[in-house]
Every structure is written in C-alpha cells, then in structure tokens.
C-alpha cells in the first residue's frame, strides 16, 4: 500500500527547503554547534579552500578537518556570494538536491526490503499475516520521514557537510540491498573517507551482500522445512523449502572487496591530486584522518566514546546477522550517539532509516512517551548549550541530545525479539 500523495509531499518538502534557503535570509543555523560541528562546518571548509587558494595546506591552522574532495567540489562554491542571500547559498542548493537524492534512495531501499519481506512471509506461509498487518510502503514512509524531519531540514539549510556524508551512507545501504557491489563499494569508501565512523558498516554490508536483505532467522526456515517434511514426504516440496533458506553467497562479497580496493585507490589518487602542491597525502592522513579528536579530552574521547562503538560491533552482528539492514540502522544510531562531534545531521540519518522498519515496529510500545520525550530533550539541548560553554555541552550532548535513542534502541530490540516469536 503506497502513500497516496507521496510525490506532492516530497515536492513540498523540497520546496520548503528551497524557500528557507532562498528567502529565509541568514538563519544563523551554521553557528549552532548542534548543526555544524568543527568537522562538518562549511565555514571552516571555506577557510580551508581560501588557504589552499593562497597555496597553503588547507589543514594548516587547525581550522579545516574535512576531506580534500569536499574542497574540490564545494570549495569554489563558497567563494561566490550573491547579494541579499546568506554566504553559502550555492552550497545549500546543492545540499537540497543531495537530500532529495538520499530520500529517493531510501525509498528504493524500502521497496527492496518490502519485497524481500513479503517473499519471506509467503515462503513461511504466513500470507494472512501479510494481508492482516498494516503493511504500508516502508520506503515511502522512510523517505518522507527523511524529507520532513526537522533535523534534516535544519542540517540542509544550516550549511554543514553532513547531508553529503548521509547520502554516502544511504548509497552504500541501497547498493548493498540491491546487490550492486560497485555502488555499495563506492558508498562505503566515500562515507568512510568523509567521516571514518561508517567504517563499521562493513559488517552489515557484507551480510547484506552475502545473505540478501532482512529475513527471519534461518532457524525459523529450518523448523518450517522440517515440519513440512514431517507432514509431507514428497522430495519436490522439501527441495523448494530448503531453497528458501539463504546461503551465504561469496561472489558479491568478493566483487564488493575488489570494487572497494578500486574506489579506495581512486579516492586516494584524487586526494593526492587535490593536495598535490600542499603536502600531499601525508598531510591528509596526519591532519585530517586522525585529527578528528582534538587535544582536549583526547584519551577520554577515544576510550569512552570511540572504543564503545567498536565494542558493540561484534555482539550486535552476531545477534542480528539475519537482519543486516536493521543492524546497519543500529550501527548508525550508535555512531550518532557516541561519535566525538555529534550533530543533528547524524540523528537525521538514523531517524530516516528508522522509517524503513515501519512494519516491524508497528507494534512498538510507549511510542507516545518516546516521541515526546525525544522532542523535549531536543528542545532542552540549546538551553543546556546556553548554560554551559560549548565544549562541555559537547560531552553532555553526545549523550544528551539523542538521549532517548537509548531507550529507543532498547524498545526497538524488544520488538525485534518479539518479531522472531511471531515468525515462529
């Protein structure tokens, strides 16, 4: 069941963004630390581009900490200023387009997931579950959530580079869902290059490429097939049911790795061309890749936050290996919470992905409480910011802004468990 007015609503969201960009004047969103962090700020990018134009390394002066490729793409646009609009209007227009593409890719991903889900339910002979459940088009919902999410709008208008990072993650997930190894590898390499955290998404990507999109656990299929073999002894039926159980396919994974190497090489080559006269790749590795965490609290950040992200990768992968898309969503949520410079752009991404599981999460409990709690905490965080200086809040915010997402994860995994039961 598709949403009736999908296109008009999507167009309205894009139109709303354009209105904000073109006629909103300077909303001073770029100066909010929630919107643009030191790593994603386009003002810093403009500074890096200026330094590069003055034949200096863009990383000299601890201002710019982004990718050299972004300098290449967005840098020339930061120079142009048009009268009557805010400084980075051309970049903002690009971000509107980027957001739209990301929403469309989320929609396509949702459709693939939907098809896979319906096929699985059919093979488990739960056809009445298919027709009984609400069964809305998850892709449409997810893309509308992404387009109309206030966080995504603020990120898009507030001139920071997170829309591009988000697009790369979405490209990666879409590519993996539709088993397009080159696209998935491109998304993976670019997303990792832009912010390093999406590196952990390699686990769900390989699972997606190997096993295909989300399905109930293989155990369920085995029980089903064994029960089928008990009742019906015909060989024909047995073979058909065992065919439903997904085998791990090495071929797409192998392709993915090859393409990943190719894209890595390509990105490094491009970066080295960009940084040709100003220190080369070494400059990039020293000043950008591993300079994400500033000197302050360096060990604190590294251990408490970044290590926690890594700790959770393996247990979650084991627990959710049959649902790689959901696993990818959980990873993005964890990264959004624990990364050293969290922003609303990360929240926009995982909230957008959340919509993909609309059918599975339809029976989630305490949604009212969670939703309004989330809004309350989000409204509180600027107050916190005013009360304390920015850096302190940074630490607080990293837990506090998406505070409710903890409870969200909790309640998300709860229904995830009950889902298995229902399949059984």
């Amino acid at each position: 069941m598709a949403i009736r007015n999908f296109w008009s609503m999507a167009a309205a969201a894009v139109g709303f963004r354009l209105v904000l960009v073109l006629f909103g004047g300077d909303l001073h969103l770029a100066s909010r630390p929630e919107v643009s962090t030191p790593l994603t700020s386009i003002r810093r990018l403009a500074e890096g581009y200026w330094l590069k134009q003055a034949s200096m390394s863009p990383y000299s002066g601890s201002m710019y900490h982004g990718s050299p490729l972004l300098l290449l793409v967005l840098g020339p646009l930061t120079n142009k200023r048009s009268v009557g609009h805010h400084d980075h209007i051309y970049c903002s227009l690009i971000f509107v387009a980027v957001d739209f593409i990301a929403a469309m890719l989320i929609r396509a991903t949702g459709r693939r997931l939907q098809i896979a889900r319906n096929r699985n339910l059919k093979s488990l002979e739960l056809t009445e579950a298919v027709s009984n459940s609400v069964n809305v088009s998850a892709g449409d919902i997810a893309s509308l959530i992404y387009l109309w999410n206030p966080w995504a709008i603020v990120t898009c208008v507030g001139s920071c580079t997170s829309p591009i990072e988000n697009l790369m993650v979405v490209i990666m997930i879409y590519g993996a869902c539709s088993r397009l190894a080159p696209l998935a590898a491109f998304g993976y390499v670019m997303a990792t290059h832009l912010s390093l955290y999406p590196a952990i998404l390699i686990v769900p990507i390989i699972l997606l490429l190997g096993y295909g999109p989300d399905a109930p656990p293989t155990k369920v299929f085995r029980i089903k097939s064994s029960s089928a073999s008990k009742t019906d002894v015909s060989d024909n039926d047995k073979s058909s049911s065992s065919r439903d159980v997904q085998q791990f396919l090495w071929k797409p994974v192998f392709h993915f790795i090859l393409w990943m190497l190719f894209w890595t090489f390509y990105v490094l080559l491009l970066s080295s061309i960009v940084l040709n006269k100003v220190g080369g790749l070494q400059e990039m590795f020293e000043k950008y890749f591993f300079a994400e965490v500033f000197d302050f609290f360096r060990s604190f950040f590294l251990i408490v936050f970044n290590m926690n992200i890594v700790f959770m990768v393996l247990p979650l992968a084991i627990r959710l290996k049959h649902r790689p898309c959901f696993l990818a969503f959980i990873y993005t949520a964890i990264v959004a919470i624990l990364k050293s410079y969290p922003s609303v752009g990360d929240s926009a991404l995982y909230l957008g992905l959340l919509g993909l599981f609309a059918n599975e999460l339809a029976e989630m409990q305490f949604t009212f409480f969670l939703f309004f709690g989330y809004i309350g905490v989000s409204l509180l965080s600027p107050v916190m910011h005013n009360l304390w200086i920015w850096r302190t809040v940074l630490v607080v915010e990293s837990g506090f802004l998406p505070f409710n997402s903890f409870t969200e994860i909790y309640s998300l995994l709860g229904p995830g468990g009950s889902q298995h039961k229902r399949y059984r």
Partner: protein, 641 residues
C-alpha cells in the same frame, strides 16, 4: 711553571700584567673608544602636556679589538650579543597609549618611540634559520632575568611569530613577540638604569625622579641594540614620558575658549634641576623642540624669546630643520649640559605669553581597531582607517592616487580568525578584496602551537574618507590550567601595527659639529617610515566553571550506564526462552517453601532429574577452574621467561 719558586712566579705575573695593560692601551689608542652620550628632548604638546625623551647611547667597538673588557659599555649586553649572535634587538616596556591624534603621528618621535602597551620584543639573529627559534627562547629567559620582567612568557611558540615583510623586511631571521598585559614599574627601570655608566646618580638620568615620571600619561622605556662586525655594538636606551606639568605653578594664560597652556620648566616636570653631566659621557645635551605649527604662528625667525613664548634660559644654539618643502619648520633649542654645574644648575622651561592652540602633524590615517559581536563564541575584529587628508597637504589634491598601508597583526591561537571572511568597506561601500589588497601573507594559527600572523599590503584610494576591514573569528577554548589567575578579565590581543611606507617622517638638522653627531638627531634622520600602533583588544573568553566537570561526569556516566544496560539486556535476552523458563518456574518450587515444608516435617519429593545435572555442573565447573589455572600458569611462565 709549577716548579718555579714563588718569587719568580710573582715577577712573571707582574710582567705579563704590565705587558697586557700596555697592549690594551695601544689598542685603545688606535681603535675607536667606547662612547657614551646622553641627551634629553623636551617638547610642549598641544593638549597641555609635555613630552620628555631621554636618549642614552653606549657604543663599543668590535669585540675582537677590546677583548672581553669594557669600561663604559655594559658587559651584560656585550655578553648577550656574543652569546645569541644578535644583529638587532628592540625591547620596549610601555605603560599607557600614545595619543596619535593629539601628540602627532608624523614625526620621528611617534614613529620610533610610540610603542604598544606592555612589552614588545623583536630580535634579528645572525644565525642559521633552524637555530633561531631555540636561540630566541634562550634570549627571552636571559632578558627576563636582566630586566626583572616576565619576558620569558614569550618563550612559548604560541607567543612569538616570524613576520616576513609586514613588520620589517627580513630573511626569516626575525622574531617578534608582544605581551600586552605586562605592567611596567620601577623594578623594570632599575635594571635598565644599571646599564648606564652613571646610573641615575649624575647627568641627565638624575632627572628621573620616580614619582614624577610614573605619574605621566605615557611611559615607554626602550632598549635598542644593533651589532655588526664593522662598527661593534650600539645600544640606544630611551625613555619617553608624557607628563602633565603642574598647572598651578607658574603663570597661567587663559585662552578665549578656556584652554590653558601651562608654562613649565624642568623643575615642574621632574622636581629636579640638572646640575652637570655624567663625567664619562662624551656629550650631554638638552634640546627643546618647538613644533612647526608654533613656529609658523610666531612668524618671526625662531629666537628664544618672541611674542608667543620665552625660554627660561638662553640656548647655546638654535637648530632649524632642513626642509626643502616649506620655509618654516620645527626648531630645536640646544643646551650643552657641560656648561652647567651645581652652583648654576640648568632648568630649561617655557613660559607662554599668549594663549595658543596648535596641532601636531597627524599620520596619513588614524588607525583604530575594535571588536564586534557579542557572546563567548565568536566575534570579529575591525580595523578602521580615518583619513586626515595629510596627502592633500603634502602632494596636492590629486584624487586618483593611492596610499599604501601595511597591516601587521599577530593574534593568539585562541582567537581563531577566518581569513576568508576578510571584508573591506571603503566609505561604507563593500569592495572586492583584490581591489584593495595588493599582497597578503598569512600564517594561520595552530591550536596551542602557533599564533596567527597577518601581513597585508593595502592600497587605499586618496579620495576616501574612511575604510574598515573586518575579520571574523571564533573563540577557542583553553585548558583549565591555561587560564590566568583573573580569567574573567579577558584576554588581550596585541596591538596591530600599521605602516605607511610612502611617508617618511625623518627630520634632518644642520650639522653643527663635524666631529660629533648627536645620536638623537641621527635617529631623527634615519628610517622614519610612519608607523602607528592600534589599541590592544580585550577579548572575553569563556571562563572555567568548576562545577562543570562534575556535571559532565555525572551526565556521561548516567547516559553510558543506560546505554550499556539497555544494549546488553537486548543482546542477551531471548523472549521465547524466557517464556519457557517462566513456565518451568511455575512448576518448580522456590527454596523458601521447600524449607518451610521441611520444618513442618513433611516429605518433599526430590525434583526430577536433580542429581545428574548437578554432577554435570560440577565437572563443568572443575574443568573451567582447571582451564583458568592452566591459562594463569602458562601466562605467568611466559611473562617471566
């Protein structure tokens, strides 16, 4: 030598000493001697104040000739130059700000001796480029010991910079640092006086009566050192003070608009009279300078008594500035201190006959700097130029010309300047950067490592009235132990320096004595590129709040506990199995009912299949314990071997 008898040894020693003395005497006879000169310049200022400028010069011939011995020249300075291979050094301690509008901005005094508040130090070294930073660090420590000041704060790489052309043209061997908040007091003056051969016991320095010179509006004490192989070491020690003459002494004249121009003499300014020169000084003179504007007004040839003013003592000589542009120019009245003694002390003074308003020549532009924006996160620095229409007086009123201005600015790293945000407004209209900026050189700041340096060559159109440059910045965050004791006061950004390379303020006076050139007038003659320093900016930064770390730790820990708890719970919970367990638990009896049943003497059925799982459990447990022990032993063994 050690075996020689003591008498012979003493004789030998005496002989060698005699020989040395004669050689030294011969050397002194041939070479230039060490020289010391002392001079004082007095000048009435338009705003009822008076300027006094003390100038002491000591020079030493090239060190190879004199060996390590000096008789007039301060040994500490000679050692400093030798140790650190300094070719030029300038250290100034300043309290107060030079008022460019009232006291002039286009004369040698303002370009050479108007200094930014606090300490400013720059030095050029005669060393390979890679050794300079280390030498600078050692030099700052030495100077801080020599002058009882915290110059050692300039040691950290965040405090000094290496300008290439904005400050002074060099080949990378110059370092510049400024401490805008350094307070200047007598403890800095005393070591400075120690470098003079007569200290403040005799000669012109004896006028330095502390209560009166520290009462002034501007106080700048400077040490300039130049050294080269050919002419040795020269130190110029100058002290520039702007004082308010005691208005209630002497005759007062009321002008029509109520302004008073006080008459003053040395006695009023310093509470002392000058009774003779320092004996070792080669020359000792006092000058009284009368500005061009007054000379213009007095009309007649400059004499020491005219219809406008009268000097208290007849000068030994009157010097007129050599100026090819107009006939009238400033004049100097010279007094030779050697003609005066204790019985006949010198007390130079000026008494006004008529109320008089005059003005000093200003710099081509008044440069001001200020901060914009509010809050503790960001702001912008603005630099404004106001035209004084000097070029019209100097070059006529052609309006298509342009005036060059060089801006040199050092910003500490916690003021993170966005150089791309440079905006230029000329007469209120925004201009493209390329139209105005001819050349720009930026050294961007690095967090906790390097200050930002901006050197910019501007070309301002002559017709413009005002220009404003603005640069946005973000405020950085300091570590808790980097804050000074009074963090709420804010942090100072050192003064910017604006240079007008096309304007030269040098003044040359006719040489009266062919044998001896007055060092003061010599400095007036050379390198007088017009400079002006802007104000020091005070940036308030966020101050640490010690409840903060507590809050942060509490919040972070709470949130992480929630996160871990919920995630781990979700990871290990199996809903289906839990339900099965619940069913089992409903069948199984608890321990307490079991005990109660036993106490009542009832027989309890043993739980089915009770024994076999327990034995299995114990063997498992045993295996685990053995395994752990084996691991521990092997680890111990491996780590020991």
């Amino acid at each position: 030598m050690a075996a020689a008898p003591p008498a012979l040894r003493r004789l030998l020693l005496l002989f060698s000493l005699l020989l040395l003395a004669s050689v030294a005497a011969a050397a002194e006879g041939e070479e230039e001697e060490e020289e010391f000169t002392e001079e004082l310049l007095l000048r009435p200022l338009p705003d009822r104040k008076a300027l006094a400028h003390f100038h002491f010069r000591s020079s030493a011939p090239p060190s190879a000739a004199a060996g390590r011995h000096h008789h007039v020249f301060p040994k500490a300075i000679a050692q400093l130059v030798q140790q650190f291979h300094i070719s030029e050094l300038e250290l100034s301690f300043t309290q107060g700000r030079w008022n460019y509008e009232q006291w002039g901005g286009y004369d040698p005094m303002s370009t050479n001796y108007a200094k930014p508040p606090g300490v400013e130090l720059w030095a050029a070294f005669d060393l390979p480029l890679d050794e300079i930073d280390a030498t600078w660090k050692n030099l700052t420590h030495t100077l801080s010991g020599l002058f009882c000041a915290s110059i050692n704060f300039l040691e950290s790489s965040t405090a000094f910079s290496a300008p290439r052309w904005g400050f002074k043209l060099n080949e990378g061997n110059l370092r510049y640092g400024a401490l805008p908040r350094e307070a200047v007091c007598t403890e800095n003056l005393t070591p400075w006086l120690k470098l003079l051969p007569c200290r403040d016991k005799a000669g012109i320095a004896s006028l330095l009566y502390r209560p009166s010179i520290y009462k002034g509006y501007y106080h700048s004490q400077k040490l300039k050192l130049t050294s080269s192989q050919s002419f040795g070491i020269i130190i110029d020690q100058t002290l520039t003070v702007v004082l308010q003459p005691d208005a209630f002494r002497g005759q007062q004249l009321h002008s029509t608009d109520g302004q008073l121009q006080p008459s003053w003499s040395m006695k009023d300014l310093f509470n002392r009279k000058l009774s003779g020169k320092c004996r070792v000084s080669k020359s000792s003179r006092v000058f009284l300078e009368i500005e061009k504007d007054i000379v213009d007004k007095s009309g007649t040839e400059a004499s020491w008594t005219n219809e406008l003013f009268v000097l208290s003592t007849a000068p030994d000589r009157v010097l007129k500035e050599l100026n090819n542009m107009d006939a009238q120019s400033s004049s100097l009245y010279e007094y030779d201190v050697s003609n005066y003694n204790n019985d006949k002390p010198l007390d130079v003074g000026i008494t006004w006959k008529l109320p008089l308003i005059w003005s000093c020549t200003p710099a081509p532009y008044h440069a001001n700097r200020f901060l914009m924006g509010s809050g503790n996160e960001r702001g912008s620095i603005a630099l404004s130029f106001r035209s004084t229409n000097l070029h019209k007086q100097l070059f006529g009123s052609s309006n298509d010309c342009s005036i060059k201005a060089v801006v040199f600015q050092v910003v500490p790293w916690y003021v993170k300047v966005y150089y791309h945000s440079l905006q230029i407004f000329i007469d209120g209209n925004s201009k493209a950067i390329s139209e105005v900026v001819d050349k720009i050189h930026v050294t961007p700041s690095e967090d906790k490592h390097l200050p930002g340096t901006l050197e910019m060559l501007l070309r301002l159109p002559c017709s413009m009235e005002s220009a404003t440059l603005s640069l946005d910045f973000d405020k950085g965050f300091l570590h808790i132990d980097e804050y000074p004791p009074d963090a709420n006061q804010g942090f100072d950004i050192p003064s910017a320096l604006v240079t007008f390379p096309e304007f030269n303020s040098n003044r040359s006076y006719p040489e009266t004595d062919t044998l001896f050139v007055s060092p003061l007038l010599q400095t007036f003659k050379e390198n007088g590129v017009v400079k002006s320093y802007t104000e020091v900016l005070l940036v308030p930064l966020t101050t640490p709040d010690f409840s903060m770390p507590y809050n942060v730790i509490t919040f972070t820990c709470t949130v992480l506990a929630l996160y871990f708890g919920s995630l781990l719970n979700a990871l290990r919970r199996r809903i289906g199995e839990e339900e099965r367990e619940l069913k089992k638990a409903a069948v199984k009896r608890g321990l307490i009912p079991l005990l109660i049943a036993k106490l009542r003497g009832k027989k309890v059925d043993p739980p089915p299949q009770g024994s076999s799982p327990t034995s299995l459990l114990s063997t498992k447990l045993l295996l685990k314990v053995v395994f752990v022990a084996v691991v521990a032993v092997s680890f111990h063994y491996l780590s020991n071997s």
